[in-house]
């Protein structure tokens, strides 16, 4: 037994020493690698910047470190610019074979490698070069990959990706803010496909479509969104309501006023906020009523909405009758913020 313990102690001491040694070596090697890369980066920076600015002569790569440095610089700059400069980034990435390499990486067995490749393509490639392969991996089983792919498709302006993006969002495969942001970047092209999905069977799809239409902000979709205000699902109703507020079309005010009587409190609250954004004062009295008597979440939203729409009226009321705390808060803020 003692022998076992002693042996274990010795073995572990060796392991400790090994780890300690590894730490030192890892650090030293890592440092050196960082230094050479940094030096290459500094050396090649003017050439890369010159290329992006329009110079004829591409930066020369003498060795693999140079290649890495150029890739690194291109990715950083590619993320920061758009327009002609971004096109130049894509041209160089293509010429040096970087795009091809990354597209190859999209087939890697490791999820994180696919994700990193998909991510970088958004910073480096052009739509023509990368949209197809990126769309192919939108159905990847790894969420990091789908998120990276969606992000890049948005950045590349790949309008052909709108439908698979929406479907991915609705099925929950795709992270919401990332997918939504991509669709925002794809803009008006997306709104036609989204409008079609307002009548889809699945509740989540309808809700997602409504929300995204609000973010894209196309006034032409107002009527279709108004119809969705009658949807059986409260989640769909609230997102359509918010969307109408974001779009801001005053033509929606009558319908939103009706939504102020929705059975679900957070839908009522959303209607109040949307009415303020749409700028319609006819609903003022109804808003005051809600702000006085309704539950916290709706009363709060209604008070703010009323104060936004008719500030003088609210201040006048504040001096007259006994207001709910929500209206008091709104009135006080009006005084302060104006």
């Amino acid at each position: 037994m003692v022998r076992l313990l002693t042996f274990s102690a010795v073995a572990l001491t060796c392991v400790n020493a090994a780890i300690g040694l590894w730490l030192i070596v890892y650090r030293l090697v890592g440092n050196r690698r960082l230094r050479t890369l940094a030096a290459a980066r500094d050396r090649l920076k003017p050439a890369v910047l010159g290329w992006i600015d329009g110079d004829e002569e591409p930066p020369s790569q003498a060795n693999p470190t140079d290649y890495l440095a150029i890739a690194d610089l291109l990715a950083s700059y590619g993320r920061a610019v758009r327009g002609g400069a971004r096109q130049r980034v894509a041209d160089l990435a293509r010429e040096t074979g970087m795009i091809e390499r990354m597209i190859g990486e999209l087939r890697s067995r490791r999820g994180w490698r696919r994700a990193v490749a998909a991510y970088r393509l958004g910073d480096l490639a052009s739509r023509e070069d990368a949209a197809q392969p990126l769309m192919a991996i939108l159905r990847d089983r790894d969420r990091r990959v789908t998120a990276a792919s969606a992000r890049s498709l948005g950045l590349l302006g790949a309008v052909q990706a709108v439908e698979p993006l929406v479907r991915g969002l609705a099925s929950g495969q795709l992270t919401r803010p990332v997918g939504a942001q991509a669709l925002r970047l794809l803009g008006t092209e997306a709104s036609a496909s989204l409008a079609n999905l307002l009548t889809a069977e699945e509740e989540e799809v309808r809700a997602m479509a409504a929300e995204l239409l609000g973010l894209i902000g196309n006034v032409g979709r107002t009527d279709q969104l108004i119809e969705v205000l009658d949807d059986p699902s409260p989640e769909v109703r609230v997102r359509a309501t918010r969307a109408l507020g974001r779009i801001g079309d005053s033509g929606a005010s009558a319908a939103l006023q009706v939504t102020l009587s929705d059975p679900v409190p957070f839908v009522r609250a959303a209607a109040a906020t949307a009415l303020a954004k749409v700028g319609h004062s006819d609903s003022f009295d109804q808003l005051i009523e809600i702000a006085q008597n309704d539950v916290f979440v709706s009363a709060h939203a209604a008070a703010y909405a009323a104060a936004y729409l008719q500030p003088e009226q609210v201040e006048l009321l504040a001096s007259k009758r006994e207001l709910s705390i929500h209206l008091q808060e709104a009135a006080d803020l009006l005084q302060v913020v104006g």
């Binding site: 003692v2 102690a9 300690g20 994180w112 990193v116 008070a303 302060v336």
Partner: protein
């Protein structure tokens, strides 16, 4: 007598073997998770989340008590966080110094009536103030009620779906809120998240940001650096990976507001309110069989100062152990309870057995083992070999934590810092560990003796948040 001693010493030894094997398990688990996380960072869509209007807004709650010296800086640094939409609610818990005045002057505060939720009772609110300078800053001035009470007041005032509880003296990274919200962004089932807390002693801090990472000069603080690395990198990451994370640091943590309010807010009856809340959330959601997750982001998001003298450190550890005991006692029914999942059959029993009773067993061991050797129950060589083995093992765990930190974050840029940390990792088993055990033992005794409140400082002191490291090993 001989058999008793033999039994006791046998128990102690078995205990240690099991404990250290679990530490090893956690280390390996953590290694896998950290590598995974590091890879994810390279493709993390954090800029897109920052730019997206769909990213959920957050209400940041900052409880403050007698912090006129640093509160304005803390608030400034919070206001400059990189996040699309958020509000900052400072809760002045009845400060008797110039905290409120300092805030009023720096931020142009005016009294404004505010609608507060009333579900959770708190000490009376005196005044609600709004900043004319920053329209997303509110200050609530209330009667003193302690940190948990102040947080509850903040909960009542918050209007966004998520709240972020922070400590006044915590220094945050600019992307901290973004990073800590990523698990929630990716999965709406996540109801609470936290990140890694690092030690600010020895670091350069400018305008509320850490500009240069350094090691503390103080030996005690450096020992704590190694300890925190082990507790966070190995402990939290490990537990989070198996769904048994029971603590989110009070220095910086994000919670889903509706769930916290359903569960009743923070408890004012314990000194370990951060851990108690998380355990209560687990129970509440499991009882209702709702799908949920409590996630840990293995990213350094927050820096705090640690005590550099033995007295303060000792008091802190005593208090933490007492808080741990209070929480485990409050939720004792969950231990082994069906329906409580890994919380019931793994996490809580583990914490009771190894974190709570650990100091007891270890201290007993220091007594029993030499007696056993003296009586001849254990041979002297056996004893020696065992001692050496345990020291070497402890070192292994510490140095593994360092290695994990090296592959993941490299926040210690200077090589000589790593060397210094390695040396401390080698020696923290000789003295510091034993001291820590004594403090924790006293904390356990305090609990058993029915001690309440914050002791000398009573409930008035908000102090440094207990970031809930129950043990110096893998927490």
């Amino acid at each position: 007598m001989g058999t008793l001693v033999s039994l006791l010493s046998g128990t102690v030894i078995v205990y240690f073997v099991v404990l250290n094997l679990t530490y090893l398990g956690f280390t390996l688990l953590a290694w896998r998770e950290l590598v995974r996380y590091r890879h994810s960072r390279e493709s993390s869509p954090i800029d897109e989340v920052f730019r997206s209007p769909l990213t959920s807004p957050v209400s940041i709650l900052l409880p403050a008590f007698n912090e006129e010296a640093g509160v304005v800086d803390s608030v400034e640094s919070l206001l400059h966080l990189r996040y699309p939409e958020f509000e900052v609610i400072v809760v002045d818990d009845g400060s008797t110094d110039g905290t409120l005045a300092a805030l009023g002057e720096a931020f142009d505060l005016v009294p404004v009536r505010k609608a507060l939720q009333t579900e959770i009772g708190t000490a009376p609110v005196r005044q609600t103030l709004f900043s004319r300078k920053h329209h997303n800053l509110w200050v609530i001035s209330k009667d003193n009620g302690g940190k948990a009470d102040a947080l509850n007041s903040g909960l009542n005032a918050a209007r966004y779906p998520y709240i972020c509880a922070v400590d006044g003296d915590a220094v945050l990274e600019q992307d901290a809120l973004l990073r800590v919200m990523m698990p929630i962004v990716e999965n709406p089932n996540v109801v609470a998240t936290g990140g890694i807390v690092r030690i600010a002693n020895g670091c350069q801090i400018d305008h509320g940001r850490v500009t240069e990472v350094g090691l503390p000069k103080s030996r005690l603080a450096t020992l704590q650096v190694v300890e925190y690395l082990r507790a966070f990198l190995v402990g939290r990451v490990g537990w989070s990976a198996i769904g048994g994370l029971m603590i989110i640091s009070g220095a910086f943590g994000v919670f889903k507001r509706s769930v916290v309010m359903e569960a009743g807010g923070y408890s004012v009856r314990t000194v370990g309110e951060d851990m108690e809340l998380v355990v209560r959330l687990h129970r509440h959601l499991r009882q209702q069989a709702r799908a949920y997750e409590i996630a840990f982001v293995p990213d350094p998001v927050c820096w705090t100062e640690v005590p550099e003298d033995l007295t303060t450190l000792g008091m802190q550890r005593r208090r933490w152990q007492r808080g741990l005991a209070e929480t485990l006692w409050t939720h004792r029914r969950a231990i082994g309870q069906p329906g409580m999942g890994s919380l019931g059959w793994l996490a809580m029993p583990y914490f009771v057995l190894f974190e709570l009773l650990g100091p007891l067993v270890e201290s007993a061991g220091y007594l029993v083992i030499p007696v056993a050797a003296a009586l001849g129950v254990l041979s002297a060589e056996y004893l020696l070999a065992f001692l050496v083995l345990s020291v070497v093992w402890g070192t292994l765990l510490s140095i593994s934590a360092l290695a994990l930190e090296e592959i993941s974050f490299r926040r210690h840029p200077r090589s000589r810092h790593v060397v210094r940390l390695a040396l401390y990792a080698l020696t923290d088993n000789l003295g510091y560990r034993q001291l820590s055990n004594l403090w924790r033992l006293r904390g356990l005794i305090d609990f058993l003796a029915g001690k309440q409140g914050w002791g000398v400082m009573n409930r008035k002191g908000l102090n440094r948040s207990r970031d809930g490291i129950p043990s110096r090993e893998a927490a």
